[in-house]
Structure formats: C-alpha cells, structure tokens
C-alpha cells in the first residue's frame, strides 16, 4: 500500500519506499546491496532535512491536517492519568467532535476539553472530522461550569477545521453556542491553558481556544479563516491556498511574534506523527510549567489577567495626526 504523502513530501516518501523494497529482497544481506542501502539512507536523511527544514505556511497547514497526526485522545492518553470521560450537553445529544472529562496532570486534578478528529474514515464520520455542532460547544460549556464549580484548572486541546457547517447546526444556534462559550471562558475563575495541536480553524476553534497561557505545536495553525475560505472570498476562487496561508499569518512563529500565543512546542522533522511520544512529553512539560505558574494566582487575579490579556489584542491608531491610510 502506498503511504499517504503530500506533493512536497512525495520525492522523499518514494525514496523511502524504494529503500524498504530493497531491504525486503533476499539479497539484502550481501555486501554490495548493503552499501547501496547505506547510500540510500544517507540520501534520504539529506532529503528529509531539505524537505522539512523550511516549511512554508501552507506546508505547515498540510502537516497540521495530516491523517496520521496525533489527536486529542492520543495526547490525553500520553500526558494525563486517570481520565474519566464525560458525555452530553443535557439538551440534545452527545457530540463526538468534542471530548472532555476529569484527568490528572502530574497528579493534579484538572478538566480536559478538546476537539476530537477520527483516526479513519469511519471514525471521522462519527466525529464529523472534529467539527462540532452547537451541542458540542454546549457540552464544553457544561464541562467549563463543572471545572469552575470544583476549582479544576481547564486544559483545552484545539484541533478543528471549524464549526460544522450544516443546516441543523444553524437551526440549533451554532453562533449562539460559540458566543456563550467565549463569554464563559472569559469569566472562569480557574486557570485556562490552551494547546493547539493541529488545526485552529476560525470561531469553531476559538470557542475553546483562548486562555491564560496559549501553546501551539510547531506545525499547528490558528487562523481567522481557512486558506481555502480566504481564497474563495478574496480572490473569488482564483487565487491559491499557498498564497492565502502566507498572508493570513497563521503559523505558530508568526502568532508568537504578534503576541497572540506564549509558547511553541517543537516537532520532529516531518511533523508530530513521526515521534508522537516525544511531542507529548514536551507538550506535557509546557502544560505543567504553565499550570505551576497559574495556580499561584487567586481566582480574581486570574480573571483580571485574562481580561487584560484579551483587552490589549488589537492593532489600531488613536488620535492620528496624519491618517496613514490616506494617500
């Protein structure tokens, strides 16, 4: 079976497949073949570095969407102990695009909420590719209330292309559900730590995607709109997502420069799926560190600090002497 690969990875993957094929042959032990294998391995290493060292924003978006990329549930398993999943919004149904529940981080009791994508097509249909309906956000809201009531720090995992675009989602108030989640996140009297592990698609991501400390994996993205959506609106479909991804400033580096996020967790060459345990370990370190700092603050301080943080996000000119937009 051919391995999944994006176009820019194709030459590398083909070389790796060639190497695998040679290794599988019976003569693999022979000296001249061994030399060939060693040579190929060296070439592959070089190509791997060349392919992944200077990823464009669009290539990062692609890696963020990689089907093998670790999901929220993988990180919950790797980072926390004693996870107890909680279900349902108590109003309509249990939306599997968002999961959450109690867990322990280094022994400390916390609440975890995250977008959940599927591992394969079948699971993705169940979980709607991590795109929540309003009931998903209302489940998150319920868990936020629980976190607040029982003084559990909240840790969220962001990984969604966006809120589900559908008739029923609109009928049940997608906009209202997201708005209520945003308002609630701002008033939680417990630490809120956000980890963007893949896709941060627009309002559907933001609904559980801002807090006191914001962490992004190196190849995750966070954007006001998907590059494809940007193309269809700004260029009437005649541009390409590569350009849009570069313009939108959606990478972890750029967002750290802009002061939106606080920390970036490095990924191995090629993305988190090449060494999930390593990435989980490093992400855990960041989460533990963030939590340690935040629990020093009392509830009122936490809320004030979060408000002040949001309050200063903006880029505008006041009392202009000369309006720079005029020519």
């Amino acid at each position: 079976m051919r391995r999944f690969a994006y176009d820019f990875e194709r030459p590398l993957i083909e070389l790796e497949e060639k190497l695998d094929a040679i290794k599988r042959t019976e003569s693999a032990g022979k000296e001249d073949i061994a030399a060939q294998i060693a040579y190929l391995e060296k070439q592959i290493e070089k190509l791997r570095v060349r392919t992944y060292s200077n990823l464009t924003p669009w290539q990062k978006v692609q890696i963020a969407r990689h089907p093998d990329r670790p999901r929220t549930s993988d990180y919950i398993e790797a980072i926390f102990t004693d996870f107890i999943e909680l279900h349902g919004d108590r109003t309509f149904r249990d939306d599997l695009a968002i999961i959450g529940g109690f867990a322990r981080l280094d022994g400390a009791k916390v609440m975890v909420i995250g977008h959940q994508k599927g591992r394969n097509t079948k699971e993705n249909l169940l979980r709607q590719f991590g795109m929540p309906h309003p009931e998903g956000y209302r489940k998150a809201l319920r868990l936020m209330h629980l976190a607040n009531k029982y003084r559990l720090p909240l840790i969220t995992f962001v990984d969604t292309p966006g809120a589900y675009p559908g008739i029923e989602a609109e009928e049940r108030g997608q906009a209202t559900a997201i708005a209520q989640s945003l308002a609630e996140l701002s008033r939680l009297e417990v630490p809120v730590i956000v980890a963007n592990i893949g896709e941060g698609g627009s309002g559907g991501a933001l609904a559980i995607g801002f807090g006191d400390v914001m962490i992004m994996l190196e190849n995750s993205y966070y954007s006001v709109i998907t590059p494809e959506g940007c193309v269809s609106i700004l260029w009437n479909g005649e541009g390409n997502p590569e350009q849009a991804a570069s313009l939108l400033g959606l990478t972890a580096d750029r967002l750290k420069e802009l002061g939106i996020i606080d920390a970036i967790v490095k990924e191995p060459l090629g993305g988190a799926h090449h060494a999930p345990a390593l990435v989980a370990r490093d992400l855990k370190k960041e989460l533990v560190k963030a939590l340690k700092d935040l629990i020093k603050l009392n509830p009122k301080e936490l809320v004030e600090k979060r408000y002040a943080r949001l309050s200063q996000i903006g880029y505008y000119i006041e009392n202009p002497v000369e309006a720079p937009v005029e020519k």
Partner: protein, 290 residues
C-alpha cells in the same frame, strides 16, 4: 459628529444630480425597491426609515442613518470616532488592505465599521454601537473590536443599558488572528456588563453572520431581528458545498431564527424605536422622559 451634519451631507448628495432632462429619472431621486420593483421617491423612502411603504422591504441603512432613526434628536454624542485601523500583517490579496480601507472610508465617510456613543432612546440613557455594512462588509477587525469593548466597558462603568445594532459579515480576514481574537475580547466585555446585571439589547440587521453573530451579537438579554435579515454563523454557500443538498428557502432568515428560538422577536423598522424603549422600561433603564 452631530446628526445634523450627516443629514446635510445626504441632502447635498441627493440634490447634486442635475435634473436637466425631465424625461430621465435623475439618479438619487428615485430608487427601485429591491423587494417589489416599484419606483420609490428617495425622500419619501428616507422619511419611512428606508422601508418600502408598499412591500415593507427593509433597505440597508448606514450607521448614522440608524442612529438618526433610533435615538432622540441631538442626543447622540459620538465616542472614539478617531480610532483608525492599521495593517498588522501587511495584507495584500487582490488589492492591498490599506487600499480597501481607503476606499471604504471614501465610500462611507467613516473611519471604521462601527459608530459608538452615548444617546437617549425615548428619554432613556443608553450606550449605543451601530455597525455599518458599507465599510468592508461591516467586518470586525481591531478597531471594531476595540470600540465595542470600550462602549461596553463604558456602559458597565456608568450603569447604562447597552444597545448594539449589528450588521456584519464576520471577522475581518485582513487582520488575521487579531480579528478572530476580537470575538473573545468583545464577548469578555459583554460578560462583565451582564454580570453587573445591566440590560443589553442587540438588534440584528441584514446581515449578521460569522464572527459577529458568534460573539457579542447573540449574547444579549433581548435579541431583536429585522424582517428578512440574514442571520447565521456559516455562509449558505459553504454549507451547500459541504452537505451537497439544497437549503430550505427561508434558511437563516430572521423568521427562521425566530422559529428556531434564536431571537426574541422580528420587529419592523418603523416600530423598532418604540419597541426598544418599551423593553428598556421593562429592563429597568433610567432616563428623562421628554
């Protein structure tokens, strides 16, 4: 800017057209109704709050027109009108963001897509924000987010009811994540106003979608929609492309939202001021009756 100035400007605009040939209908004197295709006398349309007297089609109104329609004469005192947007990402798609801004400013005479201030509605003191769809689709970037935050904080500080008239396609793409974060920023400010026990009425006019519908617009105590206004989160085109089925005819209209329990009422613009005043009375607003 006092309302009077705005009115003068409009008068000047409508009078500018040279009515030389009697046979030709001069631009700006007659307007064809987009609802029933009837020709309407512009002055009469304005007197009727830009609602077609024949079919009740609601024409879009600019921010200042709305303020003129909704607040007591000369009661509006604008705040932060000099806040102007920057270009944090150096954004340039089919055209540079700064060009879009300059064009929007020329077209609307506004610095940004929202106008805020103190005003009175039937004597009730309020803090009010009105969005203008004419300015880059009423989209929310830094300035809109900041002004909504400020007017909400002012209302919280001064114990005033908050009125926001929404009209927006959503978050402004050209400012990237900074725009998206304005959703959180405005929602946080509204949460504080709410927690103070103060009244907030939002009026959703055509269209209210995306990042604005999913933040301050839908967090009000009372949500009023204008007839036939488009209200929703995801655009119909995106939904159609995703689910590959035809959408119901009234999908995402004000009436659809009413039926699904997302708004309190659909109110004709001619009744709007009266309804807001009646609600303010119930919500315990204070002021001086005129």
């Amino acid at each position: 800017m006092p309302i009077g100035d705005w009115f003068k400007k409009q008068e000047r605009n409508t009078a500018r057209s040279p009515a030389v040939e009697k046979r030709i209908i001069p631009d700006g004197v007659w307007e064809k109704c987009k609802g029933c295709n009837e020709p309407l006398f512009v002055k009469e349309l304005e007197r009727n709050l830009k609602v077609c007297p024949k079919c009740f089609f609601h024409f879009p109104v600019s921010a200042y027109e709305r303020i003129y329609q909704l607040t007591d004469l000369h009661s509006f005192e604008e705040l932060w009108g000099d806040l102007i947007p920057g270009d944090p990402l150096g954004f340039a798609a089919n055209k540079p963001y700064i060009d879009s801004l300059a064009k929007a400013k020329d077209k609307t005479g506004l610095n940004e897509a929202v106008v805020c201030g103190r005003a009175r509605i039937d004597g009730f003191q309020v803090a009010i924000a009105v969005m203008d769809f004419g300015f880059i689709g009423g989209s929310m970037g830094s300035v809109v987010g900041e002004k909504i935050k400020r007017i909400t904080e002012l209302a919280t500080r001064e114990y005033l009811p908050l009125i926001i008239v929404c009209s927006s396609g959503g978050a402004r793409m050209q400012e990237g994540m900074i725009s998206l974060m304005q959703m959180a920023k405005t929602s946080a400010a509204i949460a504080r106003h709410q927690d103070q026990g103060l009244p907030y009425i939002s009026i959703l006019s055509h269209p209210t979608t995306g990042g604005v519908s999913a933040s301050f617009a839908t967090l009000a105590d009372i949500i009023i929609a204008e007839p036939h206004a488009l209200i929703g989160f995801t655009g119909a085109r995106v939904i159609e492309q995703t689910i590959r089925q035809k959408l119901p005819k009234d999908f995402q209209t004000a009436e659809f939202n009413l039926a699904h329990g997302m708004v309190d009422m659909v109110v004709n613009r001619l009744e709007l001021k009266r309804m807001v005043a009646r609600l303010l009375d119930y919500l315990g607003a204070s002021g001086v009756k005129e």
